[in-house]
Symmetry: C2
Subunit: 276 residues, 2 copies
């Protein structure tokens, strides 16, 4: 088939490489923002051709939206006239607002997907052909799609080596909040805390593995993550409150020197790793 | 020289392997808690001999305390009668309370060291011979030590491939708090938040790299970390308050939909990685 990918950063670029690697797409078209990106994408051989949106729509059996979640929303009106056979798919980190904003005309075509994989890197240069292998993709509200679009999506993700989980979009946004969006908010806060208190010399001298891991996702793109926080606002605020409760618990245990209880509380946190 | 190591978990066991690997010690003695540990340590060939504390004191040119920080404090009285030539060294994650608790009789012998390296793993089985290589060790208040003890410590850490940073113990505890102790408190809280809200099935399905990194140190030993939080209580409470301010900032920006400011705040967090 022919795959058209809108946005060729880490997610879109890696998908472009994967569909070529596994022989899923004979031809891959890309759509990017500007001439500089066009040159970069072609130099990196991510796609066969960079085309305008109209050509991409006409030629593709599958159109993939691999852009920040607010840009997905802005792009949807341009896809209203695709034919019944063309599958549209987004790879955004939020799902409820997106599925709600897909108009009836293309709702059957539109597969809401969230590959649960990412690094703090972004841009076309970060794209790698095995980025998705062994990871999970969440597909939401498939009951709203026509079966041949679902089949196309399932085949694609299976062939690039992903584990498929089906979920309601609302439910997805709650789980993705706790497992990804809240941790990002925390990492950004930790990075800003350390930057406001510590001098660069001490940071360089004393950063060990734990801190590097905890602050890694604070390197993520502000534009991409502002959009995600915006679209998952209510869940994120709730999860921040729950996290706050746990920070209050540990603070109270330390302040009042309840060290036996503190050890027990830490032991409870340890059990996460029995299931992970 | 002969090295005697008290405690043969990740830190002590890895040091035992390193001093053998680099030919720094001809003989390595170990002191452990019980018969089961003795068997484990000998089966793993971490030391040449497991001995009692009196033999270890008599035979060692360098005694290393590689036990949790409260256990270090409890052990010090047993070391009061070492001779002038014997160097004592601790590897604890807090330094101020420890140096304050070293009696005058052995203050000149006692090197306060904190190798800034660790994983969530612990116990003798976790020990590896290149654990310390390429990492930083902080040495505190060396002005209170006799020069030949300092020389012995500097040589040891240089030979096992560590970068040496000298620091006041009080200052160390502040920096170590922000760069290590606070991140641990946050990681334990995040793990407990997710455990209290999410079911195991969703955690397994949706845990991607970011969450795994952020919750990794929540696997750390509760006993070891309760001691550290106890000894660095005041700094930790201060740092938790500062982190709280930053969580309040991001919460307020999201709640009031100040998304341009939110992106700027994230951008500030990004700059951490220009220096790391």
């Amino acid at each position: 088939m022919t795959v058209g990918i809108i946005g060729l950063g880490l997610m879109g670029g890696s998908l472009a490489k994967a569909v070529k690697k596994y022989g899923i797409a004979k031809k891959v078209y890309g759509c990017v923002r500007n001439e500089a990106q066009k040159k970069e994408v072609l130099d990196l051989h991510l796609v066969d051709e960079v085309v305008d949106i109209e050509t991409l729509k006409k030629e593709s059996d599958l159109i993939v939206l691999a852009v920040p979640v607010d840009t997905i929303i802005n792009f949807i009106p341009q896809l209203l006239d695709v034919d019944n056979e063309t599958t549209i798919m987004d790879l955004g980190s939020t799902k409820e607002f997106i599925v709600k904003n897909v108009p009836t005309e293309i709702r059957k075509n539109f597969i809401a997907a969230h590959p649960m994989v990412g690094t703090e890197k972004n841009g076309p240069k970060a794209a790698i052909d095995d980025f998705y292998e062994g990871h999970t993709v969440v597909l939401c509200n498939l009951e709203d799609n026509e079966s041949h679009h679902v089949k196309k999506a399932l085949n694609l993700f299976q062939e690039i080596g992903m584990r498929i989980v089906k979920m309601d979009a609302k439910e997805h946004d709650v789980h993705a909040c706790y497992m990804s969006h809240l941790p990002h908010a925390i990492s950004f806060s930790l990075a800003n805390t350390v930057m406001s208190h510590e001098d660069p010399k001490s940071i360089i001298a004393l950063a060990a593995g734990g801190f590097k891991d905890m602050s890694r996702v604070a390197k993520s793109s502000p534009n991409m993550w502002t959009d995600i926080f915006k679209q998952n606002k209510d869940n994120l605020l709730d999860s921040m409150d729950l996290f706050q409760n746990h920070m209050n618990i540990v603070r109270e245990l330390i302040e009042n020197e309840k060290y036996d209880e503190l050890a027990k509380w830490m032991g409870k946190a340890n059990t996460l790793h029995e299931i992970l």
